[in-house]
């Protein structure tokens, strides 16, 4: 390609470099305008002012993804607390309680579940919810709460116990969902987190509901 380029003097090169940086600046500015406009238009766009992680924005030493990565890489014990232990510590700080699978199953079978005194809230995204959730659980993606408040808020207001779950392990979306509910006035004493989440529920062979809430389409995961 060298034979395409004319011989240039030092001032020419400086001028050319200046033009290049100016072009970079234009690309950067135009790109930023495009990017924020696209985010604003996109139905999945983020709201810039919202704190999507109300519990604690950064937990680098015990970041959920880090734990996921580490867990995937090896089965060796981690030099940090387990995700469930971490969750228990955080929930205690927030005044909420952690439930295990047995306790959740008891609540699921409690007659009060049928009357709405006990409510289950699924804090995963829409796709995962529709793939299978605890039967009767409300859909509540904490990253798009306004989409679900109409259904979830009255149910939670009327309930005495609200069990929130997500993907278990290092997933902290259930925590975020519970805190979002707390922030709109649901008493924290009514909020419980199912630490094992849907993976534990399905591993135990307990029923899951496919599609919308109360769709009636039930299956056992191992079937």
């Amino acid at each position: 390609m060298k034979d395409h380029l004319p011989e240039s003097t030092a001032p020419d090169r400086r001028h050319s470099t200046g033009r290049l940086w100016l072009e970079v600046l234009i690309v950067a500015l135009a790109g930023a305008v495009f990017a924020f406009a696209a985010n604003g238009i996109s139905p999945r766009g983020l709201m810039l002012a919202r704190n999507y992680f109300p519990a604690q924005i950064n937990r680098p030493a015990t970041a959920p993804g880090t734990i996921a990565v580490l867990r995937d890489l090896t089965k060796a014990s981690l030099p940090v607390l387990s995700p469930v232990e971490l969750l228990a510590v955080r929930l205690k700080e927030q005044g909420m309680q952690l439930l295990d699978g047995g306790q959740v199953k008891q609540l699921f079978q409690d007659p009060q579940f049928k009357t709405g005194n006990i409510v289950f809230v699924d804090a995963r995204d829409e796709t995962h919810y529709h793939e299978g959730h605890i039967p009767g659980a409300y859909e509540f993606d904490p990253y798009y709460p306004e989409k679900y408040f109409t259904n979830v808020f009255p149910a939670c207001q009327a309930a005495k116990q609200i069990v929130v779950y997500c993907n278990g392990g290092d997933c902290d979306d259930s925590e975020s969902a519970a805190l979002t509910l707390r922030d709109v006035g649901i008493p924290v004493s009514r909020l419980f987190i199912y630490g094992g989440g849907i993976p534990e529920w399905t591993t135990n062979g307990w029923p899951v509901e496919i599609g919308a809430r109360n769709s009636g389409s039930l299956r056992r995961p191992n079937q």
Binding site: M1, D3, L22, V27, A38, L46, N51, P64
Partner: protein, 172 residues
């Protein structure tokens, strides 16, 4: 000045156009993958601990994927090619450093070989082995550097935003 291009330079020109399209398509694809799942991307970049304020975190997660899409489109269309290539280099270098540092942290925590580290770096193509990712980024950097050197001028809508005597032959 107006020397006739040699067959070799013509071949190199054509490859440079392919490189521009490849780089553009890659950034378009990777950017869209993130832009269509902004919450997932937000969660991933949160792990890098680069900013403390949620406004900054949200802004990065919201804008970066679309910015990559924008750069990809510019390269595909052949607009501001050198400026875009330099912009990509300016983005790729710090991204690569961040990914490398994170991989080192995981390696230390797990006491495993560096190349055995596999994680979702938020780069738009899911979980990847770190060595593959670093090589991939190096590859993109080479392509961007090649375009920055002034190649890939064929089939450009507007090769340079500020045409000069060295670039106004872009539509040849």
């Amino acid at each position: 000045m107006n020397t006739k291009p040699t067959p070799l330079s013509r071949v190199a020109d054509n490859f440079a156009v392919l490189a521009r399209w490849l780089l553009g398509a890659a950034f378009l694809y990777l950017g869209l993958n993130k832009a269509l799942h902004p919450v997932e991307f937000l969660k991933l970049i949160r792990q890098y601990d680069i900013v403390q304020d949620h406004l900054w975190l949200n802004s990065i997660a919201a804008a970066l994927p679309w910015f990559e899409v924008f750069c990809g489109l510019l390269l595909l269309a052949g607009v501001a090619v050198r400026g875009t290539a330099l912009m990509l280099i300016l983005m790729l270098v710090p991204f690569t450093v961040l990914v490398f540092r994170r991989a080192l942290a995981i390696k230390s925590a797990m006491a495993i070989a560096f190349c055995a580290v596999k994680f979702d770096c938020g780069c738009g193509n899911g979980e990847v082995y770190i060595c593959h990712k670093l090589l991939e980024n190096l590859w993109w950097l080479i392509l961007a550097g090649w375009l920055l050197a002034g190649t890939g001028q064929k089939f450009c809508l507007r090769y340079s935003l500020m045409p000069s005597s060295t670039t106004n032959r872009s539509m040849e």
